[in-house]
């Protein structure tokens, strides 16, 4: 029998070439990467929960094998599950969207607005 691959370690290997960093502080990038990986794992658990709920609803019972094999059964189910991911990602990355809106429509600071309202 041949030696098993250490697939856990190999799966996370880096690719050739220096990794580009985009944030001035590499620590920010490091934490962001860890955060996004965790965000992904939460999404995985949520999808699993959804499968369990659907199986229970349909069969009244559930086995691990049922869960492993579960795939959405109708276009509606597919849409519901993908919508969840899409909403979830939008919630997680909310600040990016909001900064973008600010960029598109630059606002006054609330202090400035306070001064303005004071005159209204």
């Amino acid at each position: 029998m041949e030696e098993e691959l250490d697939y856990i370690k190999l799966a996370s290997n880096k690719s050739k070439g220096k990794r580009p960093y985009f944030h001035d502080d590499h620590a920010v990038e490091r934490v962001l990467n860890i955060t996004m990986a965790i965000a992904g794992e939460l999404a995985v658990i949520r999808e699993r929960m959804d499968s369990i709920e659907r199986l229970l609803e349909k069969n009244g019972t559930v086995s691990r094998e049922d869960i492993e094999n579960f795939v959405p059964e109708t276009p509606e189910q597919e849409e519901q599950r993908q919508s969840w991911h899409s909403e979830y990602i939008s919630r997680v990355l909310r600040i990016v969207q909001q900064e973008q809106e600010e960029m598109e429509n630059p606002d006054k600071s609330i202090e400035e607005i306070a001064n303005d309202i004071n005159e209204m």
């Binding site: 190999l10 799966a11 985009f22 996004m36 999404a43 699993r48 900064e99 960029m103």
Partner: protein, 394 residues
Amino acid sequence: MAKNLTPVWNKVAKHAMLPETTHDERARYNFLSNLNKHLAHVSHGTKTAYETRVVPKFRKKHGRDIQNRTELKEAIEKDPHYQIWSSLRRSTMEMRQQAGRSLTLRQATSLRDKASALNEGKSTLVLNPEVKVPEYLLAVDNHIMPGSYHTELLEGDVTPAANYDSGIFVTTAGLIGRYNDGGGKAITTWVRQNYPEFKPKRILDIGCGLGHNVLPIAKAYPDAEIIAIDTGAPMLRYGHARAMDLGYKNVTFMQMDAAKTIFEDESFDWIQSTMFLHETGGKSIYNIMDEVYRLLKPGGLTLHIEQPQYTDDMSEYEKFMRDWDALNNSEPYWSKMHDIDPVELMAASGFKKEDFMQIGAKAENDLIEGGVNEEEPEDFGRSPIWNVFGAIKK
């Protein structure tokens, strides 16, 4: 699917070689393709950042406009939106590789065994360990895929192809169809429409990978002999086994360098490449085209599906963003290939300039009704819209 959602991963077409997936592995892919989609839409923000912040700041400091891509790069790299978008995009691609490798490497042995059972004793798979992997492929792992197309983690390994096959649906957010063959289908349709009399007897696909885009050609021309070559043995083993399982009889997969094949002069009616040339090298691309010219029969057709070329009316910003993937998703030659004029490339090998042709091609997508993708925001080299160039050899 409504609201511009990505198709669920399990819509990908099943075949005997596709790695098995656990529930959570599929869910991880679903998360990642949605994240990809999200970033493609949010990437609109980089343009706003460029116009409303980067350019004005540069003008203020230097009293003039940004003049070239180097200045643009330096200026935009300081912008916080560009930074967060870029780091998220890079991170998403790294996670996609991790997800694909973790699910394929854990079943490396059984995938190898499945492939060898399907490939056993077949004359349509011809491996040659003497073939050297080109230097440019050893220099980088294209699209940050650790180990690239050739690395074998065990004897008879197919995992590079299995990872590629299972994950490309995620990277492209399902826009190229269930078999990931939207490019091959589009080119087949185009050739049939434009050359209805063309009856190729012998077709060569160079840099075939695991054969995603050559199979539609093989299907459209069932009487033709198709030869698909690649230097990566894992791609060929997997690709051949996949083709066997899908019932293709007329494709021979051979391990060979496209720059130095063993075929006779003027022995092919059609020579095709798909998403291949931008993963070669600055000198090799000319050698490969020389070889295409040598192998093509007079009257034969050659076509190359590539990313859109730069045009003079393209803004520096757009060129810079098109280079983003090249540099940050490790497709480095792509950033150089932009500077080559395909007419000159082909002319250097002997094709006549007046025989040069160039068309646009859109992926055919069997996942949606009508087969045509909805308009997507420009995603700088990720969109399933390509430039095809080629010639008929006179």
